[in-house]
């Protein structure tokens, strides 16, 4: 048993976990707050990648500025989506799932019609293209950037939800919408803002994934099921998603070390289904009743 390469797998697992977590962050906020199953999340990620591409290509924006800019662009798209469609469907969770799938079709085909099906590439600073030695392991520098951005975003979200007035309001609406409304919290506004926030996070993820992989209209579809499972296993809370992504990321990496990538993914899917059979509320269940 080669301990060195197992260590490699563990370090790679942290990187995989950070990728899954950043894909799931926005979804966690949206599902955790409003209970909306947003099937268009993958396409919001795709939009984030395309908006970075456009900002770079037409405005010559440096890559690091593209991250916050993509956040803003996709958050605005999310805001429009919430106001135009989602807010009418909060009482019909199954229908939000279907309607957002329709949205994902529209976004994917719309982008395909505008930009074509050929891949686009995001340019990153030289320094991110090198590899970094972590002990005996060589890791691409950009994966460390992804990890850092993920950590920063989780910290920022934790501060937002647990240290600000807005965060208290969000958690109040999460626990009991009617009671929160009775205390003067505008729950419709909270839903709107959290949806925009979640969409914006997808935008940041997209700007990062556009570098990890190529930018394609279909790139979002591969993230959405994975991101959902992280959210559902975590139970819809921020801590839950962090732990769920961490554990499954490591498991993916270790199983892939013993078998291969696809088989590892299969094992994880089956384990998740088995886990949810016994704990449908996820790792950290939300306190209070929703619906």
């Amino acid at each position: 048993m080669d301990l060195g390469s197992l260590l490699n797998a563990l370090i790679l697992g942290v990187s995989i976990a950070s990728i899954w977590l950043i894909a799931a962050l926005g979804l966690t906020i949206i599902y955790g707050t409003a209970g909306v199953i947003n099937m268009a999340h993958g396409e919001l990620i795709m939009l984030g990648a395309y908006s970075s591409y456009m900002l770079q290509f037409y405005l010559g924006l440096p890559y690091l500025l593209c991250l916050p800019a993509s956040f803003v662009v996709v958050a605005l798209v999310g805001l429009a989506l919430e106001r135009g469609l989602i807010r009418y469907l909060y009482s019909r969770p199954l229908d939000t799932l279907l309607a957002t799938y329709g949205v994902s079709l529209v976004l994917m085909q719309g982008v395909r019609l505008i930009f074509g099906s050929d891949p686009k590439y995001l340019a990153v600073p030289e320094i991110f293209q090198s590899n970094v030695m972590l002990g005996s392991v060589s890791v691409s520098a950009f994966r460390i950037v992804v990890l850092l951005v993920t950590v920063l975003l989780v910290l920022a979200l934790w501060l937002l939800f647990y240290k600000t007035r807005f965060g208290v309001q969000v958690r109040a609406v999460m626990q009991n919408k009617e009671m929160a409304a009775a205390f003067g919290i505008n729950s419709g506004r909270i839903y709107m803002l959290t949806f925009a926030l979640g969409a914006g996070l997808a935008g940041v993820a997209g700007a990062l994934f556009g570098v990890l992989a190529i930018v394609l209209p279909t790139m979002g579809a591969s993230y959405v099921v994975q991101a959902f499972l992280m959210v559902v296993v975590g139970g819809g809370s921020l801590a839950g998603s962090v732990v769920a992504s961490g554990v499954t990321g490591e498991m993916q990496s270790v199983f892939a070390f013993f078998t291969n990538d696809t088989l590892a993914r299969f094992i994880i899917f089956v384990l998740i289904v088995a886990f949810l059979r016994f704990r449908p509320q996820g790792l950290f269940a939300q306190s209070g009743a929703r619906r």
Partner: protein, 366 residues
């Protein structure tokens, strides 16, 4: 006179007329390629029917219908593949290409056509019974069950992709010759193949119709509307849900077999998330509370898609997605509910009945 839409006799008349119309298609269409196309639409109709049964009548949104369809299709493709293998050449070529020089245990039952067919239908059905049974007993329902089916579908997709030597991997299986049954070759472009598919579609539809009109169907509709109340009335909600989910899986498995018989091809694309979701779209646009509406939804959408061709595919999917959003937002019960409303306007209000009978959406049989 009440709303004709809810009249059982009128419903049966429409169903019989619809299938009679489908039955005369081979006499009207001389082009064998077109006939093959119509037959594949009928397979899609069967899939939409199966979703309508478990989602529209059982309240179980199943985003993983591709599991039953795909497993059935793979079973059929394996049977057909083994039919073209001979004594001297017992191993399918793709296995040899993957350096597998013996027939795996998984494939051995498919040497017998009858056993292969039985397995192609029973394996997915039993899977649905087991998966549904386990999930529904844990009271997993609603959007949560939908996500679980998605996860399961992705699991099957990845394992089939991964086990290339056993499943043909991403290329899938392409049986070289047409399906043979009892010494007769079923040419996929012949009217015979169309009749076979139509037979199964008709059988499945009438079975589903009888189920929805039975007392069993009434209970499943009650579970759809309020499962807690039904549970408090003493019914085994998990049992009813498992049965309706399994029947739906059975129909999808048969559809999978028919599909491979028609196209002589199966690949992991049939277990793609997008395909399973498009089945749901057919049923949702056609009207999930109406079996016939769902079938028509599949026929019309798939018909239009292939009529417009690949050049307009992106535009078509854009329009379809937009239309789907509009239907979900404004017409949750699909286009069939428009007919329901129209016929309701025609119906003379019965002076003896209590006012405002539509207050809480009475439980329709259809």
């Amino acid at each position: 006179m009440g709303n004709l839409y809810h009249n059982k006799i009128a419903q049966w008349v429409v169903y019989v007329a619809f299938f009679a119309a489908l039955a005369i298609i081979p006499n009207m269409v001389g082009d064998s390629f077109l006939l093959n196309q119509f037959a594949t639409y009928c397979v899609y109709g069967m899939l939409a029917l199966s979703i309508s049964l478990c989602w529209g009548f059982g309240g179980i949104l199943n985003l993983g219908q591709g599991i039953a369809f795909g497993l059935g299709a793979y079973g059929m493709a394996m049977t057909m593949q083994m039919q073209s293998q001979t004594e001297s050449n017992p191993i399918p070529p793709f296995m040899l290409n993957n350096s597998l020089d013996y027939l795996p245990l998984l494939w051995q039952p498919f040497q017998s056509t009858l056993l292969g067919l039985i397995l192609a239908v029973t394996v997915p059905t039993l899977f649905c019974a087991a998966f549904g049974g386990i999930m529904f007993r844990a009271r997993v329902s609603g959007p949560f069950f939908a996500i679980m089916t998605l996860a399961m579908l992705s699991a099957f997709y990845t394992i089939i992709l991964d086990r290339q030597a056993y499943t043909g991997g991403v290329n899938g299986l392409t049986p070289p010759s047409a399906f043979q049954f009892a010494g007769v070759e079923v040419d996929p472009y012949s009217p015979t193949a169309y009749w076979v598919v139509l037979f199964f579609l008709t059988g499945a539809t009438f079975l589903a119709k009888l189920i929805t009109q039975s007392s069993f169907g009434l209970v499943t509709q009650a579970i759809r509307d309020d499962s807690e109340r039904v549970r408090f009335l003493g019914y085994s909600v998990a049992g009813y849900e498992t049965v309706i989910y399994t029947i739906s899986g059975l129909i999808a498995a048969v559809a999978g077999c028919c599909w491979v018989m028609l196209v002589q091809y199966v690949s992991p694309a049939q277990m793609d998330v997008g395909f399973s979701l498009s089945i749901v779209i057919w049923a949702a646009i056609g009207g999930r509370h109406s079996l016939l509406g769902s079938i028509l939804g599949a026929l019309i959408i798939q018909g239009a898609q292939s009529y417009l061709g690949d050049t307009f595919l992106a535009t078509w999917l854009l329009i379809l997605g937009g239309f789907f959003i509009v239907v979900v937002r404004f017409l949750p019960n699909g286009l069939a509910s428009l007919l329901e409303v129209a016929l309701g306007l025609l119906a003379r209000p019965d002076p003896t009945s209590s006012p405002a009978p539509d207050g809480g959406r009475p439980l329709p049989a259809e």
